[in-house]
């Protein structure tokens, strides 16, 4: 029981820290609420889908911004998608960078866009790591016999 309680506490602390540092926002909580017996792996599924989607989008963005003449419309639509996805799961920091990214797109500012792309990639990898860590903790807790809060 000690282990489970400790694991639980660890999980809760970790999750709280994620919220406090702004990696996740309320939307993630909503997602967690949607998870129930009929849909036990809802959050994991959504997050994995998010990872796939984002990776694809980031590749597309890199390619698009590498072009000698950048098609800002395409870039904008990709960023929009990314923004939508990140807001759907509550990846707050990614979402914020996307907003800035879109502004640069509107101004047709390539420098700004490239900067933002870097930032987005950074934020995405950060949040990905965090979420993966979170899921691992959850798995550990479940394996130890506890229940996810």
């Amino acid at each position: 029981m000690e282990g489970v309680a400790q694991l639980r506490r660890q999980l809760v602390d970790y999750l709280t820290s994620l919220f406090q540092e702004g990696f996740l926002d309320n939307q993630f909580t909503q997602l967690q609420q949607l998870q129930d017996e009929s849909n036990p792996d809802f959050v994991v599924e959504v997050v994995n889908l998010f990872f796939e989607d984002s990776e694809r989008l980031l590749n597309e963005l890199t390619k698009a911004l590498d072009q000698p003449s950048v098609d800002f419309k395409k870039v904008d639509s990709h960023v929009h998608q990314l923004k939508g996805s990140s807001s759907s799961i509550g990846a707050q920091r990614v979402q914020n960078v996307c907003i800035a990214f879109r502004n640069y797109c509107e101004e047709h500012n390539i420098e700004g866009c490239l900067n933002c792309l870097q930032q987005v990639k950074q934020e995405y990898s950060l949040v990905k790591n965090k979420l993966e860590t979170l899921f691992k903790l959850e798995q550990q807790l479940l394996a130890a016999g506890g229940s996810v809060p």
């Binding site: 939307q27 909503q30 998870q35 129930d36 996805s85």
Partner: protein, 831 residues
């Protein structure tokens, strides 16, 4: 008799020249007499000419004659002859030596040379003429020139040919000479005749030239004048510009003086303004003095009157008081002085073309002085300039005055605004304070009231002694009374400050009446008062209006009827008010005109109770009116009930009044209110609506078939999860075509994710709507958007969406939104 020397060429013979009365007779004696022609011998020759020619073997002698300046030669035989002096005093000397250029010959030589030069000159003149005429483009008399040229040329030719005739010459030469002379004569006569015509023309040309020169001189003068005027005009414009470029009174006047001084090179320029009293003119501005001492002159001076009476600039004497600005130095002659009036316009008198009749007739005086000791005079154009400037100054001053006025007015308004604002805020604060108070009091008061009433009624249920029961009943009654009072006060205060709004809804009118009837029946039966209810058959069952307040009103009126009747019956009638019945109402200010959408309900409650004194009727509807009737009875009634009813009835665009024939004769309370007909299509729904409309919020929607369209995979999944959590049967699609393909009438709701920019999602909505032409079958279309601005809302409304939900949405919110959507079939909410 002269002896003529012999020809060195060996001539022989003698010639005797004898003067006769008629001329000269030449007598020849020859050795060869056949040399002489018979015509020559013994012939008398004229003085002019004696030419004897012998062509035979050069045996001749020359005879030379000088007649006047004509010389003549003749050749005769070698003997010398002498010629006598003729009777006319003519001396003739003859030297018959041919090549001898003696004294006579000098003259001849000069003649020769002169003739040559004459000829030269005569030939060169036409050349010159031709040359110059060719150079000049215009010469109208070419023909004359030709003639003249010919004339000259021939003269020259004549003279030239003359050169040959000095010596003995052949007949050809003589012929040529003669021809030339004849031609010359002809041409010169012709030219002379032509000149008779030409010379007057040429003279007239000359006259015209002179005339033109005069004209040119005159035009020059006029040009000078115009230029001067133009200068003046420019000065005026510049002056005006300077004057009008500022709206400050002081600057305007100062600038005027400075500019005038500069333009007209004045010595001094001064402005006298009328004082407040209007009796004096005060020296306000001068050009040279920086701070004029307050000279004043009375306004009634003759010179001042003279200037004020005309709108022109008037020359005044330099010695008059207004012009005597400097101490007189005595030595110099002061320059001419001109004064002009400057109208000070009242704001309301500002007419554009209509200076003369000014009601206030306030003028300022502008005095201008030319430099002394100069001989300058005031010219007309300068005077005009001064007049124009004076007018402009008047206009500029009035503008400045208007500006000042408007600034003042604006400042005043601003102050007033600030004060009003403050007052408004205070009033608002007061109202808010009152409302807060009421709200608090309302709650605070109701809570204990609730406790009192509830517990007292509970207490009533328990075992009590009669005494106790009585006490509890009293407590209950008082509690109810108090509760009613509290409610009434709250209602009234809400009604008073106009923040009250009717809650319109569709309800069952008949049911309302029935309920009132049911409520009042027990009380009435206790008092043994039969109550009857008559509803007109054409009274609609379902109407639109404020059910609660209508019931309250009816209840109040009926309650009053019951309260104030000791005996008799109470009848309640309700019917649709027709125009005729409306006319006899006591309220002429309502003109109820029933239309398709609404009708007027008339309710009459008649009782045979105490009645009311007709004089007291108006008082009934005022709040807290001291109604003696109420006071005499220990009835429960605050004075508020009817007042509140009146307010409600007025809000329903109707009226309420009481008719009574007097005390003890009962009274009838009548009110008319406007109610609406409900919409036909919502009829079926009404059947399913419960009598009391309370909205049941569903917690889950089992089996509710919905369709989600979202292009973003993650977002789609989240929304799907959300709806599934709420129990819906969710179909999720990622593209528009799939959406159109899959949507069917089984789906109750379609959720469309609308991107922030663009209106693509709306197209889908239109397509889906088109797919389902029949309204009640079609699924509800709701947009999910992150954009909350008005434009998106308007677009949604425009394309006919049934609802808009703002992202992000939580589970609870989604739950309540969906239930509201299903309930109302429309959902437009803000964030």
């Amino acid at each position: 008799m002269y002896q003529i020397p012999a020809d060195p060429h060996d001539r022989a013979g003698t010639c005797k020249i004898l003067p006769t009365k008629r001329g000269i007779k030449a007598d020849f004696a020859r050795t060869n007499s056949d040399l002489l022609s018979g015509s020559v011998q013994n012939q008398v020759f004229s003085l002019f000419q004696l030419i004897l020619r012998f062509e035979h073997q050069s045996q001749f002698v020359e005879l030379k004659f000088a007649v006047g300046n004509r010389r003549c030669r003749c050749y005769v035989t070698t003997e010398i002859f002498t010629i006598f002096q003729l009777g006319a005093g003519l001396m003739m000397e003859c030297n018959c030596i041919e090549p001898q250029w003696a004294g006579d010959d000098l003259l001849m030589k000069y003649q020769y040379i002169s003739d040559f030069f004459i000829a030269l000159a005569y030939f060169s003149i036409p050349l010159e003429l031709i040359y110059f005429v060719k150079k000049s483009a215009v010469f109208p008399y070419r023909w004359v020139l030709v003639q003249f040229g010919a004339f000259i040329v021939l003269c020259g030719a004549t003279h030239l040919i003359n050169l040959w005739t000095f010596n003995v010459h052949t007949r050809t030469v003589a012929v040529v000479m003669t021809t030339a002379k004849v031609l010359t004569a002809v041409v010169s006569c012709a030219t002379a005749l032509m000149l008779v015509h030409i010379i007057p023309d040429l003279l007239s040309v000359k006259t015209r030239e002179l005339f033109l020169k005069n004209k040119a001189a005159e035009l020059d003068r006029e040009m000078g004048l115009i230029r001067t005027q133009e200068e003046t005009g420019r000065h005026v414009r510049m002056l005006t510009h300077e004057i009008r470029s500022t709206l400050d009174r002081h600057t305007i006047l100062k600038t005027t003086l400075v500019e005038l001084g500069r333009t007209l090179a004045l010595e001094e320029c001064a402005l006298w303004m009328p004082t407040r009293t209007g009796l004096e003119l005060q020296l306000s501005y001068t050009l040279r003095h920086q701070n004029p001492v307050g000279f004043t002159v009375p306004i009634q001076l003759p010179v001042v009157n003279q200037v004020f009476s005309s709108n022109r600039a008037v020359k005044i004497s330099p010695n008059c008081p207004v012009a005597r600005l400097r101490p007189l130095a005595g030595k110099y002659m002061p320059g001419e002085v001109v004064a002009v009036r400057v109208p000070l316009l009242h704001l309301s008198n500002f007419q554009i073309n209509d200076w003369p009749e000014l009601s206030t007739k306030r003028y300022a005086l502008m005095v201008l002085m030319l430099p002394s000791d100069s001989a300058r005079q005031w010219h007309v154009h300068e005077l005009e300039l001064v007049e124009v400037v004076a007018d402009q100054v008047a206009v500029a001053l009035s503008h400045a005055a208007i500006l000042e006025e408007s600034m003042r007015a604006r400042d005043l308004l601003m102050e007033q605004n600030v004060a009003l604002d403050l007052a408004r805020r205070e009033a608002e604060t007061a109202i808010r304070a009152r409302n807060d108070f009421l709200a608090v009091m309302n709650h605070e008061m109701r809570t204990p009231m609730h406790a009192i009433i509830a517990l007292s009624s509970l207490l009533q249920e328990t075992e009590l002694t009669t005494e106790q029961r009585l006490m509890v009943e009293t407590i209950l009654k008082s509690g109810n009374l108090l509760a009613t009072l509290i409610n009434d006060v709250l209602d009234l205060s809400r009604l008073e400050d106009g923040s009250f709004q009717l809650e319109l809804g569709t309800f069952n009118l008949h049911a309302v009446f029935r309920e009132v009837f049911n409520l009042i029946k027990p009380i009435a039966s206790v008092k043994k008062l039969p109550v009857s209810l008559n509803l007109a058959p054409d009274l609609p069952e379902y109407v639109v209006g404020d059910e609660k307040r209508l019931m309250q009103t009816i209840l109040n009126v009926v309650g009053n009827a019951v309260k104030f009747s000791k005996e008799g019956s109470i009848s309640i009638t309700a019917f649709i008010a027709k125009s005729e019945s409306l006319r006899d109402s006591r309220t002429p200010d309502i003109f109820p005109i029933p239309s398709d959408n609404h009708f007027y309900l008339r309710v009459q409650v008649k009782d045979l109770g105490l009645g009311v004194n007709p004089q007291d009727v108006p008082k009934l509807f005022t709040k807290f009116a001291d109604n003696q009737l109420l006071a005499t009875r220990n009835s429960s009634g605050s004075g508020l009930g009817l007042a509140i009813c009146k307010r409600f009835v007025n809000l329903m665009e109707g009226d309420i009044w009481i008719e009574s024939e007097g005390l003890g004769k009962g009274c009838t309370a009548i009110f008319i209110v406007k109610l609406g007909y409900p919409d036909c299509s919502s009829d079926p729904k009404l059947q399913s609506l419960p009598k009391v409309s309370t909205i049941i919020r569903q917690t889950s929607f089992p089996g509710l078939k919905v369709l989600i369209m979202d292009e973003n995979g993650v977002s789609r999944m989240v929304t799907k999860g959300l709806l599934m959590h709420l129990g819906c049967n969710v179909t999720a699609v990622g593209s528009r075509d799939e959406c159109l393909h899959l949507v069917s009438q089984k789906h109750k709701v379609v959720f469309l994710d609308v991107p922030l920019t663009g209106t693509d999602g709306f197209e889908i909505a239109i397509r889906v709507r088109e797919k389902f032409a029949k309204r009640h079958d079609r699924p509800l279309i709701v947009a999910l958007t992150g954009n909350s601005d008005r434009i998106t809302m308007e677009n949604c409304l425009r394309v006919g969406l049934d609802g808009v939900i703002l992202k992000p949405v939580s589970v609870d919110r989604m739950r309540s939104l969906v239930s509201e959507l299903l309930e109302r079939r429309v959902l437009f909410e803000g964030q």
